[in-house]
Amino acid sequence: MMAPTHRDGKSDPFALLELPRRPIVDLDLLDKNFSRLAATYHPDQQNGEAMMFQKIQEATRLLRHPAKRLRLLAGEATMANNIPAAAKDLFSSIGGALQRATEVTTKYHAASGPLLKALLIKDLLAVREELIAAQESLDQWLSSLDQELQEMNLRWPQVSVEELLSLSYAFLLEQRWDHQLREALFQTTMIDHFSKNHE
């Protein structure tokens, strides 16, 4: 099944933000158009329209990330999601790193004094290394997804709905894992403060 190349005007996020319906959008242009339109329709403006403002905001959110954008291009179609074969090992290594990070940071926050916290620093540093390594592998996967996306963009509109959906799902996973890893890394930066206080 080929991807639908257009959708009815007004409610289409691409049309709202005045961008061509393609797998890749110009993000600078997206920002620029969002700023202009948001300033026009913000409820504070004389001729503001709250409904329209929210539509623009929602559309921008959908267009900004490839997962949502590709999902939009696929139209109404759905299919069962499977973790891509290439990402299965990545999935288990990230999952393991996250689990260990949660364990250690929870212990760290529960520790009630500087000494108790200091005893956990070794574990925290080890888990941090693990998170950074996982983040690096994830970044590599992301660049291979980006390549696929570019290739798809060149081929557009000769792209099937199935391809759109599976790449969209891959980006979605990448985004989620990236978010979780960042959060875990953020939580472990507490050790920096700790050492700071004792300089």
Binding site: A39, Q45, S112, L115, L119, K122, I191, H198
Partner: protein
């Protein structure tokens, strides 16, 4: 006097900007192309946020109330902003002895013979500001922009709006303080595409907001803060220090405490400019007079743990905005406490650039409120402001977890929907609990209230009710419920805690006064006990790990302190246990440092 002022019909008239601060409040208006802040009767633009309720007279506000405070500490209230939208059981209410009510109830304050709500107290401050503005503008003032800390939740924002209403003001907009400050700064100084952070450390609250200016759109990217962290927190630490130093720690005389606190605050303020200062307290206790010297170094040692708490919040906000410190063009300091050199030093170290000091720490927020008023009046067209919601909004799911519906840092106004269905056939209603906060478990978040969804009787899973949560430009929540089958829609009131009768309040006062000290001591002891039980084996483990790396003297000191802790634990009294634990913490400081160094550098 107000009645003689010319009124303007309907929803017209000037929109004044108000900074309703923890320690000071300000009011102003945009006139002839400039934002102007008004001076009060005493000739100052800053009106202390202090209200005094003396028997038989009208409440008095500002400088006059500050003077009353020394004579009538029990009838006077400061920093009421901490209590806005709070319930008795909130951790923020610990340490206030004038509060009454039972668990889960909105806070009420007992001042002398009177019982008032935080909204009423705030409305007295607002009335005073309204009077100041009317005296200067010569017309009745009915509309205002009021600023709140960015990290205020829905209940705190609602309470602020309610205070405005009680004072006779239509609150045209609630805006975030750091956003207001950014507006005051950015209007003439900001380049297109620049990104800034506003570090707002005020009297009672801390916020860090990251903003960007793009094509005339001033957009908040992220915000993070603590509504119970500010100059007050430092004052409290300083008062505790002085109490111990002057051996007054057992004094429960509120006049002594008040004088110490005021003297401490003055000393803190002086030490932003001087290296040392003297605190004079004549006849503090009977015939005893006190004169002690406090140095900047001493003050910094007391204040540093408080100041350090802003670090993680700054990093959180930056991480949420997906930015590094290097991406920021400026870090703007606002809020009176940013005069403290140690805060400036922390900001410079953390953001890797000298902070921008161009904004008046006390006035920038009010100026921003004034500008926002002008934007709404249509007298100013420079920018459009896009703010975000500081806290995630969600509902409690089965199993007591929080399900996020609108994530934090979403641009407002915004809305999100959720579909609910009946779990059993014929079910007529369903209760959902609304939450605000970032914690995973529902119970750790702020409970906004409950909502009852009506179902049209139908077989299991077939009744459908859609709920739309919208956050308006003020960051206030509205809920629309729509029955999918019947298509009926209605706005739903969220039930906040119910009001209780006066009798119940009286009973609660008596009860809370009786048990307040006992409860607290018992809980503190259990906490200290837990800490001791954890600490003792940890000390042994640390000493083993560092075998040969620390001097025998240190080992001896640490062991002695540990023994003291065990002994205090057996005695079962709070004060000696806390003291022993503190000493052990101090004694193990070098041990902790060594452990970190060993871990980091192998």
């Amino acid at each position: 006097m107000n009645k003689e002022l010319p009124t303007t019909p309907g929803c017209q008239g000037p929109i004044v900007g108000i900074d309703l601060g923890t320690t000071h409040s300000l009011v102003g208006y945009y006139d002839s192309g400039f934002p102007i802040l008004f001076s009060n009767e005493e000739g100052s633009r800053l009106t202390p946020s202090v209200v005094s309720y003396l028997e038989g007279s009208l409440p008095c506000v500002g400088k006059a109330a500050v003077r009353q405070q020394l004579l009538y500490p029990e009838e006077t209230i400061t920093s009421v902003k901490h209590l806005m939208g709070r319930r008795i059981s909130d951790p923020e209410c610990v340490g206030w002895d004038q509060l009454i009510g039972s668990r889960g109830e909105p806070v009420k304050i007992k001042l002398g013979q009177r019982i008032v709500t935080p909204e009423e107290v705030s409305s007295e401050i607002l009335k005073e500001l309204k009077k100041t503005a009317e005296a200067r503008l010569g017309v009745l003032v009915q509309r205002a922009i009021i600023t709140v800390p960015a990290y205020f939740n829905d209940a705190q924002r609602q309470a602020t709006r309610r205070a405005g209403e009680i004072a006779g003001l239509i609150v045209e907009r609630i805006i975030s303080e750091p956003t207001a400050a950014a507006l005051a700064y950015g209007l003439d100084k900001l380049q297109d595409h620049s990104k800034i952070a506003v570090y707002d450390f005020g009297g009672g609250t801390f916020d860090l907001s990251v903003l960007k200016l793009d094509h005339g759109l001033f957009q908040v990217l992220s915000t993070c803060g603590d509504t119970n962290l500010g100059g007050d927190t430092i004052d409290q630490a300083l008062t505790d220090f002085l109490l111990t130093k002057l051996k007054l720690e057992n004094s429960r005389d509120s006049k002594i405490l008040m004088r110490l606190r005021q003297a401490g605050r003055r000393a803190k303020e002086e030490l932003s400019f001087a290296q040392e200062t003297t605190i004079h307290l004549p006849f503090i206790e009977g015939n005893r007079s006190i004169e002690i010297t406090l140095t900047r170094v001493e003050l910094e040692k007391i204040a540093l743990p408080v100041i350090e708490r802003t670090r993680a919040l700054c990093l959180r906000s930056l991480a949420d905005a997906n930015l590094n410190v290097e991406d920021l063009d400026e870090v703007i300091l606002v809020g009176g406490s940013t005069r403290i050199p140690a805060i400036r030093a922390l900001v410079e170290e953390l953001f890797k650039k000298p902070p921008n000091l161009t904004q008046h720490p006390d006035e920038a927020v009010a100026l921003g409120a004034v500008l926002q008023g002008a934007l709404l009046e249509g007298n100013l067209h420079a920018v459009t402001l896009l703010d975000v919601t500081p806290l995630s909004l969600g509902i409690e799911t089965f199993g007591g977890l929080m399900n996020v519906i609108i994530p934090r840092n979403t641009t407002i106004p915004t809305k999100a929907g959720e579909l609910f269905t009946n779990a059993v056939a014929g079910q007529e209603k369903m209760k959902i609990t609304l939450l605000q906060g970032e914690r995973e478990r529902a119970q750790h978040n702020w409970k906004l209230g409950e909502l009852e969804l009506p179902f049209t009787p139908a077989p299991k899973g077939q009744a459908r009710v859609g709920v739309q949560f919208s956050l308006d430009v003020n960051g206030l929540l509205q809920v629309l419920v729509r029955d999918v089958i019947s298509g009926k829609e209605k706005m739903v009131e969220i039930s906040h805690a119910v009001d209780v009768s006066d009798e119940a309040v009286e009973a609660m006062i008596a009860e809370s006064l009786e048990h307040a000290f006992e409860d607290r001591d018992a809980r503190l002891f259990v906490e200290a006990q837990l800490q001791a039980v954890e600490m003792l084996p940890a000390v042994e483990k640390a000493l083993q790990e560092l075998d040969g790396l620390i001097s025998p003297e240190t080992v001896d000191t640490v062991r002695t302190c540990a023994t003291h802790v065990s002994q205090a634990l057996e005695r079962g009294a709070l004060a000696p246990l806390k003291k022993a634990l503190l000493e052990l913490d101090e004694a193990t400081q070098t041990v902790a440092t060594l452990l970190i160094e060993k871990a980091m550098h192998g």
